[in-house]
């Protein structure tokens, strides 16, 4: 998918005007937060687990080469095969080659954010494969030809009516003619339709929440059961995972699993947590004949070496999205690529480049809620600020912002001049706004004053007020 992150401002403005989207966001708002809060409160060990999880991931990242090699060796020992991909294109090519070698026609997919990141569906469809997303949310956005708007609830921006409409358009070819007025009717229709796909698919593609170096296993955490049917029924199972998904042992995975479901949906454990290890064994009555894991770099090795390494701890729980006031107001699509919210604002510039994605770093008030709820203690606000600094250094910020900043910096380095200018401004603005205590219009800040008033200063700058106060005290 071609990113449109540079247009965040325009995207966000449009999102705020979109009544349907605002209704859908309103529906979603409280649920995630309330459920997470309850789950975390019910677990006194949560903070202890958080600290342990951070240590596990930091240890793994510091030895990432070792753990990936161990993982690969275990995959091979279990009868599977690992493939390494430097870029999105390389990963897509590997998967397309595997599909061709399998003589595939129908490919089913479990939800995979890495799949979204590399634009796998487009590649496979262009190569002539019939690709079906099996997670209900992913399926809905596949029908709508849209990217996910949330990393764990891809269709959270759709209302029931939108979904019923999509099903009406796409399902009559299969003979479905229901009314689709209720949620159960919609879910049931998807279930019936998907049955046929699961059992006839030649290749199943899933993501991975974790890769385990000790055993060569890939782990998926789901509620629908679609990931398991996708991994179990076709002849070939392909797992997509980025490098940082590896953890050392099963015990380490236990720690991370305790945090993941609680942070994501407020569950103690999702309905299904599955560990896949190799293909089916000689006497097994079901399971795939071949098992492949594609290990994707696409920017991760850079992050490991620069000051964004903390971001590689992310387990994609989505809590930072749910708690972000900006995400809550504009939804996921405004971010213009596949990862939205605070984690997306950090990741997108690192993967698609600062020029395209840099403006996302400004899509934040730096209020800090994301860091507070992040189960992996990722300092998201600090990483966003880092992007801003870099954006400025590389001269990617708009000329007006640069000019204003340069003017301020000029003054700030000349304290006396600074005080004179600030005092003058305070007196003038104070006089202008004296009658109402606030200003309706400010030159150079009309975007601000268009939707809110600017409080008029009291006619004195902070420094001069402080002086006066401090000076008096000193005299006493």
């Amino acid at each position: 998918m071609k990113p449109t992150s540079h247009a965040f401002k325009a995207n966000a403005a449009a999102a705020l005007q979109d009544a349907g989207l605002q209704r859908a966001l309103g529906n979603a708002k409280g649920g995630f937060i309330e459920r997470r809060r309850r789950a975390v409160e019910a677990l006194p060990e949560f903070e202890q687990l958080r600290a342990a999880a951070r240590d596990i991931k930091d240890h793994t990242l510091a030895h990432l080469d070792y753990y990936l090699e161990r993982f690969e060796a275990r995959v091979t020992a279990a009868g599977g095969q690992a493939h390494w991909a430097r870029t999105a294109e390389e990963a897509c090519r590997i998967v397309a080659d595997l599909c061709r070698a399998a003589g595939a026609r129908l490919v089913t997919k479990g939800k995979s954010m890495v799949g979204e990141e590399i634009g796998l569906n487009e590649t496979l469809e262009a190569a002539g494969y019939d690709v079906v997303e099996t997670d209900l949310g992913e399926y809905i956005i596949q029908l709508a030809h849209e990217p996910p708007s949330h990393i764990i609830a891809p269709a959270v921006h759709k209302t029931r009516g939108d979904i019923a409409q999509l099903f009406r358009e796409h399902h009559s070819q299969y003979g479905f003619e229901g009314t689709r007025e209720t949620v159960p009717a919609i879910v049931d229709e998807a279930r019936q339709l998907m049955r046929g796909k699961f059992v006839t698919a030649d290749v199943g593609i899933t993501g991975a929440n974790f890769l385990i170096a000790e055993t060569g296993s890939t782990v998926i955490v789901t509620n629908e059961g679609n990931g398991d049917l996708t991994g179990t029924l076709p002849r070939v199972h392909i797992v997509l995972a980025s490098l940082e998904k590896v953890v050392p042992t099963l015990e380490d995975t236990s720690v991370l699993l305790r945090l993941l479901a609680r942070s994501a949906t407020g569950q103690e454990m999702t309905a299904y947590t599955t560990f896949f290890t190799g293909p089916r064994r000689p006497n097994d009555p079901d399971g795939p004949e071949a098992f492949h894991v594609v290990l994707l770099d696409n920017g991760r090795s850079d992050m490991l070496g620069n000051d964004y390494r903390d971001m590689l701890r992310c387990i994609r729980c989505g809590a930072c999205l749910n708690y972000c006031p900006v995400y809550g107001a504009v939804g996921g699509h405004a971010y213009g690529w596949v990862y939205p919210g605070p984690m997306g604002a950090v990741l997108t510039p690192l993967i698609v480049g600062l020029k395209e994605g840099g403006s996302l770093a400004n899509a934040s008030t730096l209020c800090g809620r994301c860091e507070t709820v992040c189960p992996m203690s990722i300092p998201l606000p600090r990483l966003l600020r880092q992007h801003r600094v870099r954006e400025h250094e590389q001269k990617l910020t708009p000329p007006r912002a640069r000019l204003a900043l340069a003017a301020w910096a000029y003054l700030a380095r000349r304290p006396r001049l600074y005080r004179q200018v600030i005092n003058a401004a305070a007196v003038i603005l104070g006089a202008l706004g004296r009658r109402r205590g606030r200003l309706r219009y400010l030159p150079l800040a009309s975007a601000w004053t268009r939707v809110r008033d600017f409080p008029a200063p009291q006619g004195r700058s902070f420094i001069s007020a402080w002086r006066k106060q401090w000076g008096q005290r000193k005299e006493r």
């Binding site: 430097r86 879910v187 059961g225 398991d228 720690v255 064994r281």
Partner: protein, 219 residues
Amino acid sequence: MNEARDAILARLHSALARERLDPATQMQLDARLTSPLKGPQPTLPGDKVAHFIDKASAAASTVAHADSPASVVHTIQEYLITHALAPSLVIAPTPPLVSLPWPQDMHVERRAALADDMTALTAAFAGVAETGSLVLLSGPQTPTTLNFLPDHYMCILSRRRIVSHTEDVWSLLREEYEGLPRALNFISGPSRTADVEQSIQLGAHGPRRVLVILIDDWD
């Protein structure tokens, strides 16, 4: 694709500002893999079995108790009647299930699941009290499709096989197994989705209902 592999490993080394790990450090890390450390675990108040039942019920599983093979069969018959299901069952081809006293009028098949099977019965490797989860291992006698395709999923679990935490499952596996099977499933309730307006709906792509039958003695 060895070229990509070498290139990625080289990039990782340069990011970590070192060469491939020396043998001594590798041995230390190998030791961490072979004798894994446990992280923090939730404290479980009271009895493991009671905790399991609480958590499984909270995850929308139904828990029944059976004190004899005959009562397992009886429990299943009642379940089928309650849910207006035909007296027909696909069971995992494992001796304890095959040898249950199945009545004449019950149609029992031993195999992997097919797309339109309504009801399946399997046997769990273990249960986890912490989360009320069943643990299922794939294998010749326990096909994985039984866990996901049928609408109604029934599973027998021995009380003795209920452990406190997921870490205890890893210990059991290391004692009783060589490596991991193709699929290991933790099952915590029926399949569900919240993808339509965040309203939780049971029976997405997997089972609509889960019945756990606890028995006193197994294997």
